[in-house]
Symmetry: C2
Subunit: 383 residues, 2 copies
C-alpha cells in the first residue's frame, strides 16, 4: 500500500515538471529532494530551558531540527508571523511546508497562499486548522493536515477543570486568599455541586466524547448535540442523551461546553439572540474557538448576570489584545490558549508532526483522520 502510494507520488512528480493547469497542480509536486520547512511557534525565552520536554516552543522546535537537517532539509523556526515585514513573510515565497499551532497561529490567508509558490503542505501541530483559509488551500491544491487526537485528552481535561471552577465558584475564594480576606458567604451563596446539574456539549467529536466520559461519575444529566448520533452502545457507555435540535438543548443546560470546530456554520453561533434564550445563570466553557461566540454579546451577558460564568482558552483574535472585553468582564475564568499545549500534548503533537513529515518525504499517505484538506476536498467537519 505504502509502496503503491510512493510509486504514484513518483509518477506525479514526473508529471509536475510540465506546466499543469489542474487546480491540484501543487499536490503533484514531488515530495523528494531537499525541502524548506518553516515552523511558527510561540517563543519561550527564559522558560525554554526550564523543562527539557518543552518542545512546543520556538526554542524546542518540536525536537525535530537534527532529524530534518541530517536529511538535508532546511528548517526555519520563528514566532514572528504578522505584518508585511515579519520573518514568516520572508520565507513564504520558497517554503515547501509550513508547520504551525493553534496556540500561536500563523494565519494562512488566500494572499499568502498565492505568494507561496512552492508550498505543498500545511501541518497543524495540534488540532484546529481554522487559521488557514481552507477553501483557498483546497483550490490551490495544498494538503492540510493536523495531528488528530494528539491533544484531545489535554483539552477534555481542561474543560472539566473549567466546568468545576465555574460551578464551584473557585476564583472569588482564591482572590480572597491573596487579598488577605476571609468571607465564606461571599463564595458560598453561588457555589454549587456539579452533581445533578444538566451539562450539554455542542459537538461530541473526539474531545466532546472524552469530556462526557470524564463527566460520567459526576452523576450529571448529560446531553449532546452533534451532526451524528452516537452508536447506541457508545451512547449508553457514555450516558449522554442525543439532542438533534441545538436550540432545544441549550435552554435545558446549566452548563454548556463548546466542542465544535470553527466553520462558517458555527462562526458567531452564540450571538445575542441565542444567548438570550439560555437559562439565566448558565455557565459556559469554550476551549473550541473564540469566534464561535459574539465577543461583545458574551461580555454583556456576563455583566448582566445572564451568563453566571464563562471560561475558556480561546479568543478572537489571538493573542488577545490588552483591551479585549473578556479580560475585564465579571465572572470569567479565562486563560491564554493553553489547554492543548501541555507538555504531554506537545510530545504527542511533535511526534505526530514528525511522523507526517516522514511520510511526506517518503511519499506515503498520512493517517486518514489527520487530513483537513486532501486532493482539493475539505474534511467533513469543515464542510
Amino acid at each position: 500500500m505504502a509502496m503503491l502510494r510512493a510509486a504514484k507520488h513518483a509518477m506525479r512528480a514526473l508529471g509536475s515538471r510540465a506546466p499543469d493547469a489542474s487546480p491540484f497542480a501543487r499536490m503533484l509536486h514531488a515530495s523528494t529532494g531537499s525541502k524548506k520547512i518553516v515552523g511558527v511557534f510561540y517563543k519561550a525565552n527564559e522558560y525554554a530551558s526550564m523543562n527539557p520536554k518543552f518542545v512546543g516552543c520556538v526554542e524546542g522546535s518540536l525536537g525535530i531540527r537534527d532529524w530534518l537537517e541530517s536529511q538535508g532539509h532546511q528548517y526555519i523556526v520563528t514566532d514572528d508571523k504578522e505584518g508585511p515585514n515579519c520573518e514568516l513573510e520572508k520565507h513564504i515565497p520558497d517554503m515547501h511546508v509550513l508547520i504551525t499551532t493553534p496556540f500561536h497561529p500563523a494565519y494562512v490567508t488566500e494572499e499568502r497562499i498565492k505568494k507561496a509558490k512552492n508550498l505543498q503542505l500545511l501541518l497543524t501541530a495540534g488540532i484546529g486548522s481554522d487559521h488557514i483559509d481552507l477553501k483557498a488551500a483546497a483550490a490551490a491544491g495544498l494538503t492540510v493536515a493536523e495531528v488528530t487526537g494528539s491533544n484531545t485528552v489535554s483539552v477534555a481535561e481542561d474543560e472539566l477543570m473549567r466546568i468545576l471552577i465555574l460551578v464551584r465558584n473557585f476564583l472569588p475564594g482564591y482572590h480572597q486568599v491573596i487579598n488577605g480576606d476571609w468571607n465564606v458567604a461571599a463564595i458560598a451563596y453561588r457555589a454549587y455541586d456539579l452533581e445533578g446539574k444538566t451539562v450539554g456539549t455542542v459537538g461530541a467529536g473526539r474531545i466532546g466524547k472524552l469530556l462526557l466520559q470524564r463527566l460520567k461519575p459526576f452523576n450529571c444529566n448529560l446531553l449532546y448535540h452533534d451532526r451524528l448520533k452516537m452508536e447506541p452502545d457508545l451512547e449508553k457507555e457514555i450516558g449522554a442523551k442525543f439532542e438533534e435540535d441545538l436550540d432545544k438543548m441549550l435552554p435545558k443546560c446549566d452548563v454548556i461546553v463548546i466542542n465544535t470546530p470553527l466553520t462558517e456554520k458555527t462562526r458567531g453561533l452564540f450571538n445575542k439572540e441565542r444567548i438570550g434564550k439560555l437559562k439565566k445563570g448558565v455557565l459556559i466553557v469554550n476551549n473550541a474557538r473564540g469566534a464561535i461566540m459574539d465577543t461583545q454579546a458574551v461580555a454583556d451577558a456576563c455583566s448582566s448576570g445572564h451568563i453566571a460564568g464563562y471560561s475558556g482558552d480561546v479568543w478572537n483574535p489571538q493573542p488577545a489584545p490588552k483591551d479585549h472585553p473578556w479580560r475585564y468582564m465579571p465572572n470569567h475564568a479565562m486563560t491564554p490558549h493553553i489547554s492543548g499545549t501541555t507538555i504531554d500534548g506537545q510530545l504527542r503533537y511533535a511526534a505526530g508532526t514528525k511522523d507526517m513529515l516522514d511520510r511526506y518525504f517518503k511519499g506515503q499517505d498520512f493517517p486518514a483522520q489527520n487530513y483537513i484538506v486532501k486532493e482539493g476536498k475539505l474534511a467533513s467537519q469543515y464542510q
Copy 2:
C-alpha cells in the same frame, strides 16, 4: 426499634433527676421539654438575600427557626464565637445543643464544656468535628454527631478541581489574562495532563472513595492508603491499588490528596522530614484539615519548588489570619474553607441537622454513621 429507644430514653430521663456521679451523667438528661439551641455559622451580610437556598449562614440559620420555635424551643444564632465577651460565651452556661460548622467553627474546648452545665448535644452541620475537644466531650457524657455524607460529594468534586488546577497550571494563565499579558510559554513549560500520572490519596473513606471514582476515567495510576483495604470488588471497580505503608506510597505520587480526619495521629503528619521524601515537583491537595500539615514546612517546600503546587480550603487556624504564610507562598491555589458548603451541600446538611434534632426531641437514635462521640466512646476514625 425506635419505640424501644424512646422508652429507654424516657427511663434515663427519669433516672437523671437524681444526682448521678457517672461520667455519662449528661447523656442521661431528658430530651423532652423546651431546649435552648445555639447555632454558630458564618455571617452572610449582603450575600444572605442573594439566594433563597443559602441556608448555611447566620441569616439562613439552616432554615429551621420556624420549625424549632413552633415546638417551643429557643434558637440563638450567631457568628460571634471567640473571646470571653463573645455572644456564644453568653449562652454556654444554659444551652442544651450547640450546632456549628467546620467553615466557621465554634471551638469547643474542655473549659467551655465545663461551663456548659446543660449541654447534651454537639452537632456538626457538615463533616469533621475536630473543633471539639472530643475526649473532654466524651468524658462529660456529651453526644457529638455530624451529618455524615452530607457534603462528601461536594468535597470530592472540589478536590478533583484542585488537582486539575495544579496539574494544568491554571492560575498563571488566569493572572496573565487579568494583567493584560499573553505568554503561553510561561504557562506551558509546567502544564501537564492528569492522564498517566500517579495520584495517591491518604485516606479512602467516604470522600476518598468518591474522589477515586471520579478520577477513574482520567486513566491515572491510582493509589490509596487507609487503615482498611477495600473489599476486592470495590477496589476493582474503583481501580485503585492499596498501599499499606504510607511512607512507601508517598514518594511514588505525582499528586497527593489528603482525605483523613485530623486526629492525634495525623496532626503534623506532613512535617519537613516527610515532605522532604516526596517526589520533587509533587502536587498536594488538602481539603481535609490544615493542621495535618506543618504550615511552615509546606510554605518552605513551595518556595524551594520541592512542592510544585499546593491547593486546599483548610487552614490552621480558621479564619486564616492575614499573615498566614500559605496566602503568600508561590504556586498555591488556596481558598477559604468552602468545599463542603456549596448550596447543595448546605441543603443536605441542614436537612440532616434537622433530622437529628427531631430524633433528639423524640428520644430516638441518630443514624449510626453520624456519631462521633456516643456514650463516652469516640468513633473509630477519631480513636
